[in-house]
């Protein structure tokens, strides 16, 4: 037995990969199948799952109330991703075009907010967006110095607050992959473009943008997928006003005690994210940029 193992490369490989593969199978793949089975089930009066076969949970999602929640989440995920691309690009470009010695410092400054806890970052925005919070204080100062009458704005518990929170949470996930692909551009390409008389806009469109596509693709996946499932940001910054699919699912498993309905909803968002990722990566490839982040 041991002799055979020593000789067979294939057996060695299987043995090395088996613990990880088994772990992922039991805790990631099996739960997905279980979620699928539960989504066809019914809830019992005490909130347990009765295993049957019914499409009721999926049909319930077609109710205008839930369709609205789904489309709101999708719109928010798209808006967040687009905004994040626009904010991340100049910063990533700035870092990629700085002298190599400085790059580490600038990247370091992106990593600090990224590694500060997710919950803490939402809390920070909760404090800023309050009626008595930092943004209103600053707006008040500005209005005062310009002699304009100022009434504190109601910003917390609005869709805008959720959008800002999402953008803040996921911005670094776009900066890092775009930076990684921009950094790879050979600087002589820019020199060649300049020598051949291309202006900066033309250089940007013909060189910088195409070369940064792998980064934008990786970043889009890293932003779009989590935004679709996040319930924390809307929970804290949106209050009862902004309910997303994430909040809907969370409630089915905690307050409402209707796991079959929650399972159906979570499979729908999984299908949405997998479809987006699939078409996106088929078109542009699945690069190392994802790992870089």
């Amino acid at each position: 037995m041991l002799q055979r193992l020593r000789e067979s490369k294939s057996a060695q490989g299987t043995l090395l990969a088996l613990p990880t593969t088994l772990w992922l199978f039991v805790l990631l793949i099996l739960p997905l199948f279980l979620t699928l089975i539960v989504s066809f089930g019914k809830r019992s009066p005490d909130g347990n799952v009765i295993f049957t076969f019914t499409l009721d949970n999926y049909l319930r999602l077609l109710d205008p109330l839930y369709l609205q929640i789904l489309s709101r989440s999708l719109t928010l995920a798209i808006n967040t991703t687009v905004l994040v691309i626009f904010l991340a690009f100049p910063l990533a470009y700035f870092i990629a075009r700085s002298r190599p010695k400085r790059r580490n410092l600038y990247l370091f400054m992106v990593l600090i907010p990224l590694w500060t806890n997710f919950v803490i970052r939402v809390f920070a925005w909760m404090m800023l967006l309050r009626k008595e919070g930092g943004i209103n204080i600053i707006l008040g100062w500005v209005a005062h110095s310009l002699n304009i009458p100022f009434e504190p704005l109601e910003m917390l518990y609005t869709p805008g607050a959720v959008l800002v929170g999402m953008v803040y949470e996921f911005l670094p996930f776009m900066i890092l992959p775009i930076f990684t692909s921009l950094e790879k551009i050979d600087i002589s390409l820019f020199e060649a473009a300049a020598d051949l008389g291309a202006n900066s806009i033309r250089t940007f469109i013909r060189i910088t943008l195409p070369q940064s596509m792998p980064g934008i693709v990786a970043g889009t996946i890293l932003v779009f997928v989590p935004v679709m499932g996040t319930f924390l940001v809307s929970d804290i910054l949106g209050g009862r006003q902004v309910i997303l699919v994430g909040n809907l699912i969370q409630r089915q498993f905690l307050d409402a005690r209707d796991p079959p309905f929650g399972s159906a909803a979570s499979l729908i968002i999984m299908v949405m994210t997998v479809v987006v990722t699939y078409f996106y990566t088929r078109k542009f490839g699945f690069g190392e940029e994802i790992v870089a982040a």
């Binding site: 979620t35 400054m109 970052r121 968002i269 999984m270």
Partner: protein
């Protein structure tokens, strides 16, 4: 032409984005020194030291720790200490296991051919393409169904009943951390020069010795950054922990989330400030470590 020249538009946009990234963090830190207990408006710093805490309404006017009143308050809070202990226990255990498993898998995927290889490789991408909440509720369903069945089948009662707790959180954390470790180590393995291994083998070194003396030292930086990444993912995790924790396994993010839905005293700001400082030091250490590694290999 200077290739490092950037247009003024890029520079201004960069400064604005950095302000956007840091403004909330500085606000958070400032309010950790707030004299006001209700923490809604900033009522100035805590002005004086005294033997015991002196309050004027909800304003702290003097404290044994002075300016750092809320930090002292925090250290005396048993719930916080318990949550901190849980967070670190989970992160350390899960990091050790996932680093070992992930490194093994990376070596297998990089240097061996075997039947389940495509499946093993593909399963690594699950945590990237599937929202965390979907994994969270899936794992919760798995545990609750399995525990329900096992408790019934084995006739477990009282404390012996299987339930959500530290163990379920650790097991679930490992599941989403392993893929990241594997991918990072795999990337490092791709980058190493095979000729060193071949030279060792040519000189008669056995496979294990070649691995221990040549391959392992070369991929060590990859393993360490994979481990550090895994550790921070675990520290930072909210969603998976939210669905898999039970009584007695509250982590710091879960604890803070609980507070956000009620009253938030500056204690939470103090906790956040300490967290930010720890992250700052950790990232600094990682950068120094990577720089040294780059200089060595250069």
């Amino acid at each position: 032409m200077n290739p490092y020249r950037r247009s003024p538009f890029v520079i201004v946009a960069t400064i604005l984005v950095y302000i956007f990234l840091y403004f909330p963090i500085f606000g958070l830190i400032l309010y950790s020194f707030n004299a006001s207990r209700t923490n809604i408006t900033f009522e100035g710093f805590i002005p004086a030291f005294s033997d015991r805490v002196v309050m004027d309404g909800s304003i702290v006017t003097a404290s044994p720790c002075g300016l750092f009143h809320w930090y002292c308050d925090l250290v005396r809070n048993d719930d916080v200490l318990e949550a901190a202990k849980n967070t670190l226990t989970i992160a350390f255990t899960a990091t050790i296991v996932s680093t070992i498993l992930g490194t093994m898998a990376a070596i297998a995927l990089q240097s061996y051919d075997f039947k389940i290889k495509p499946f093993s490789q593909l399963s690594l991408y699950i945590p990237i393409v599937i929202p965390e909440i979907v994994m969270g509720i899936g794992i919760l369903t798995l545990f609750s169904q399995f525990f329900g069945w096992a408790n019934e089948a084995l006739n477990l009662t009282g404390d012996a009943r299987l339930a959500l707790g530290l163990a379920t959180v650790i097991v679930s954390h490992i599941a989403f951390m392993v893929p990241f470790v594997t991918l990072v180590v795999q990337a490092r393995l791709q980058g190493i020069d095979k000729s060193f291994e071949e030279a060792a083998m040519d000189l008669g070194a056995r496979e294990w010795n070649t691995f221990r003396r040549i391959t392992l030292p070369m991929i060590m930086p990859g393993i360490l950054s994979g481990a550090l990444l895994a550790f921070t993912l675990s520290l930072d995790d909210f969603v998976i922990t939210f669905f898999t924790n039970g009584p007695g396994s509250t982590t710091l993010p879960i604890y803070v989330y609980g507070l956000l839905r009620r009253i938030v005293t500056p204690q939470v700001n103090a906790l956040s400030t300490i967290w930010i400082l720890v992250v700052f030091l950790a990232v600094l250490l990682l950068q120094m470590f990577q720089n040294r590694d780059q200089e060595k290999s250069a």
